[in-house]
């Protein structure tokens, strides 16, 4: 399917453990399961599945579901596919009315997902985790993010990483090397400006979240895994030096015009279109874009490269990773076992994991990429992550580990910096204020333990 975009090669060692999310959230201790639910699925039924992927992102998953569906004589899967914007607000009233789906894919982390868990609407998946052997695949550090009170409530369908995506042919034509230091990055960007690229780094400021992910990456780059952990789970603050310095560097990028003259005028869609057309030579985004890009970029897909963001403080470069969508089973579903069986088929069988990987998403856990035809840009993304993994891993998406208002403040602040109306200090201060409010209200993520089998 992706032969024209792919090359058969090995990334790193024969079997690369891709999904080590070294957030050092906590060690593993207590846990325990309820009654085992991992028996053979039985009985007639319909699994209502809701998910909120970007278009193209779930093609491989959807095909696999159809395949599983065909093999089940007594169970049918009915999919309701909503965009990422509609899925969360639709779930709330549906689940609270006792209607909702049997199985849904949604955000993992504090905020709404925790509300579902606290309300007893999400089924404890620990028995399946133990009986199906998911615990052998999912790294503890990742399991803790979707664990509450020692129980596992969601299975992440993928591990996602971010990086600076760039157009190889433009770099080659201008004789530019992939930068590995911040100064090299600014030199490359200057060279692009000198050669007529008005927007060397596409920001997609109108939608705010893409460029905010760049700021998040700069923060993580400055403070490292320990700094992030200290802030999320300790007594660290968002106004400490590393955050301040990196926010200032972000403002400098804007000051030098690297995001173009009107970064707030462009949506993510428009920015990616410009990137695929070679108008914008670089943009910071994540692996989630790859499945859709295979179609959207057309023949330019193979021209897309990716490099890790250089350190903003001349320190080490870190790998980054965050879980993708989490798959939850409705606590009141009468096809819970069948739903768990579907999860097991989708994300824990070799055949499915290979297909998902070929589709451009990286399944959680160890993945043998030697015999897999990967999309070329995914190979590069994985290769870059492997290169820096020994330095530690930081979260790819801070928004997945913080309550909603934190990312809202980040997005507002980033847009303010892009508009010239917010200073870096104001940005970090507003995030810190929101953080204190959320922390006081008990809405922040607790350092948790992975479930024990």
């Amino acid at each position: 399917m992706f032969a024209h975009h792919s090359g058969r090669r090995s990334v790193g060692t024969a079997a690369t453990v891709i999904a080590v999310v070294a957030l050092a959230l906590a060690g593993c201790s207590s846990g325990g399961g309820t009654d085992s639910g991992a028996d053979e699925p039985a009985g007639d039924g319909v699994i209502n599945l809701w998910y909120g992927f970007e278009p193209g992102q779930a093609d491989a998953v959807t095909e696999l579901i159809a395949q599983w569906d065909e093999d089940q004589p007594n169970v049918t899967v009915e999919i309701t596919a909503m965009g990422p914007e509609l899925n969360p607000p639709s779930l709330l009233p549906a689940l609270s009315a006792g209607e909702g789906p049997d199985l849904w894919a949604g955000n993992i982390g504090p905020g709404q997902p925790q509300a579902f868990i606290d309300a007893g609407l999400a089924r404890d998946l620990t028995p399946y985790y133990c009986d199906f052997g998911w615990n052998d695949v999912i790294p503890d550090e990742l399991a803790t993010i979707s664990t509450s009170d020692g129980k596992l409530f969601a299975i992440a369908n993928s591990i996602e990483s971010t990086g600076m995506f760039y157009r190889k042919s433009i770099f080659e034509d201008l004789g530019l090397e992939v930068p590995t230091t911040w100064d090299e990055l600014t030199d490359v960007t200057d060279a692009l400006v000198d050669n007529g690229y008005e927007t060397p780094i596409g920001a997609a400021g109108q939608d705010a979240w893409p460029v905010t992910q760049l700021l998040g990456a700069m923060w993580s780059s400055a403070v490292g895994p320990d700094g992030i952990e200290k802030t999320l789970f300790g007594d660290g603050t968002w106004t400490e030096d590393g955050f301040q310095q990196s926010t200032q560097k972000f403002a400098d990028l804007q000051g030098k015009g690297y995001f173009g003259s009107e970064p707030l005028a462009y949506t993510y869609q428009a920015t990616m279109a410009d990137f695929y057309n070679g108008v914008v030579p670089m943009t910071y985004t994540g692996g989630f874009v790859i499945p859709g890009a295979q179609e959207d970029a057309g023949e330019n897909f193979d021209d897309i490269g990716v490099f890790a963001l250089p350190s903003v403080v001349d320190g080490p470069i870190y790998a980054n990773a965050s879980p993708g969508e989490g798959w939850y089973v409705n606590a009141n579903s009468d096809v819970a076992d069948e739903s768990a069986d579907l999860i097991n088929f989708l994300f824990f069988t070799d055949e499915s994991r290979t297909k998902i990987l070929e589709g451009g998403l990286v399944p959680v856990g160890p993945v043998d990429v030697t015999e897999v035809e990967l999309p070329s840009v995914l190979e590069e993304l994985l290769s870059e992550q492997d290169k820096y993994r020994e330095n530690g891993t930081v979260p790819a998406f801070i928004e997945g580990l913080t309550p909603g208002p934190i990312f809202d403040e980040m997005m507002n602040g980033v847009q303010g910096v892009l508009a010239g109306s917010t200073s870096p200090d104001q940005l970090t201060q507003s995030v810190q204020t929101a953080w204190e409010t959320e922390k006081e209200a008990g809405n922040t993520l607790d350092a948790s333990d992975a479930p024990q089998c």
């Binding site: 969360p88 607000p89 709330l92 009233p93 689940l95 609270s96 905020g111 709404q112 509300a115 579902f116 606290d118 309300a119 007893g120 609407l121 400021g205 109108q206 939608d207 705010a208 009107e262 970064p263 707030l264 005028a265 462009y266 428009a270 309550p403 909603g404 208002p405 809202d408 997005m411 507002n412 847009q415 303010g416 892009l418 508009a419 109306s421 917010t422």
Partner: protein, 312 residues
């Protein structure tokens, strides 16, 4: 004796007739209530009850799914009034209302007045103006998003007419995003104003215009001295409809800017949605909704009161 008997008989007949009338009237009233009942029941179920529930919810903290809610009294409201983003949303909402209502009432009235005088093509123009009203609001939002893009229709037109220096990403500029969206929203409701005004103008007694003409009035004078005063009740209706609609605007903003950039297009409805549905703070979202309802109700009552006083 006979006279007394006749009188008593007449009285009885009168009483019987009165009773019959009352009975008939009572039956009519019952029939009227029977016809009203289904609508009333639906209204109570789907409007009144949710309204009271919303009021109730605003005194609690609730994440939208939890079986328990914590009573917090007026905490949500005190938090709301100290929330700078709420006040920014409120200010944006007021600006949005003023722009939209002004456009649809003033331009709508002028357009309707011009159409009323048009000898032909009136129906065609009515149809053209009314088309956006029946169009799905999400389509309207996407069309205008495209128009306002940096390489969109508006900027291209401006360049063609030599105004290239004012081109920009209209929805990406915090100074222009709100007026740009108000214009888009006005466009989608403009046709309805025109149709209502046109119907009102056609109901004005033609002799008033004839008399004005005899007195030597020109078109402008007839507009201000005949059309506008005669249309006052219609203007009030359009004003109220547009104002309430503008206060409740959500879809066009959500589908284009989601309240950005830098909250410059955040209005109470989008703010309420964010707090309630995306951040699972239903009590706080309900407090925003209650405040919005009170604001709209007050504005509507004030405008009705002003109208009544002017009529008196």
């Amino acid at each position: 004796m006979a006279a007394t008997s006749t009188r008593a008989q007449a009285l009885t007949q009168h009483q019987q007739a009165r009773r019959r009338r009352l009975r008939r009237g009572g039956r009519r009233t019952l029939i009227a209530y029977a016809f009203l009942a289904p609508a009333l029941i639906l209204y109570v179920m789907f409007v009144v009850r949710p309204m009271f529930e919303l009021f109730g919810m605003s005194f609690f903290t609730w994440n939208g799914v939890s079986p328990t809610r914590d009573f917090v009294g007026l905490d949500n409201f005190s938090r709301l009034f100290a929330d700078s983003l709420f006040w920014k949303s409120f200010r944006n909402n007021l600006v949005f209302v003023v722009l939209l209502v002004a456009f649809n009432v003033i331009v709508g009235l002028i357009t309707a007045s011009a159409l009323a005088r048009a000898p032909r093509g009136r129906l065609l123009f009515q149809l053209i103006f009314f088309l956006p009203v029946v169009q799905a609001s999400i389509v309207t939002a996407l069309v205008w998003k495209w128009i306002y893009q940096p390489d969109g229709l508006l900027n291209r037109l401006l360049e063609v007419v030599g105004l290239g220096f004012v081109t920009r990403g209209w929805l990406g500029d915090p100074d222009t995003a709100l007026p740009a969206l108000a214009l888009a929203a006005a466009w989608s409701g403009f046709g309805l104003s025109v149709v209502i005004f046109l119907a009102g103008i056609q109901g004005i007694d033609q002799t008033l215009y004839d008399a004005a003409k005899v007195d030597g009035a020109n078109v402008r004078q007839m507009f201000f001295n005949v059309t506008v005063p005669q249309l006052r009740p219609v203007v009030t209706v359009v004003f109220l409809l547009e104002m309430i609609g503008a206060f409740q605007t959500f879809d066009i903003i959500w589908a284009t800017t989601r309240g950005g950039p830098i909250s410059s297009t955040e209005v109470l409805a989008t703010y309420m949605f964010k707090r309630g549905f995306t951040e699972a703070q239903f009590g706080y979202g309900a407090a925003v909704a209650v405040t919005l309802m009170i604001v709209v109700l007050t504005a509507a009552l004030v405008s009705l009161f002003v109208r009544e006083r002017n009529e008196d």
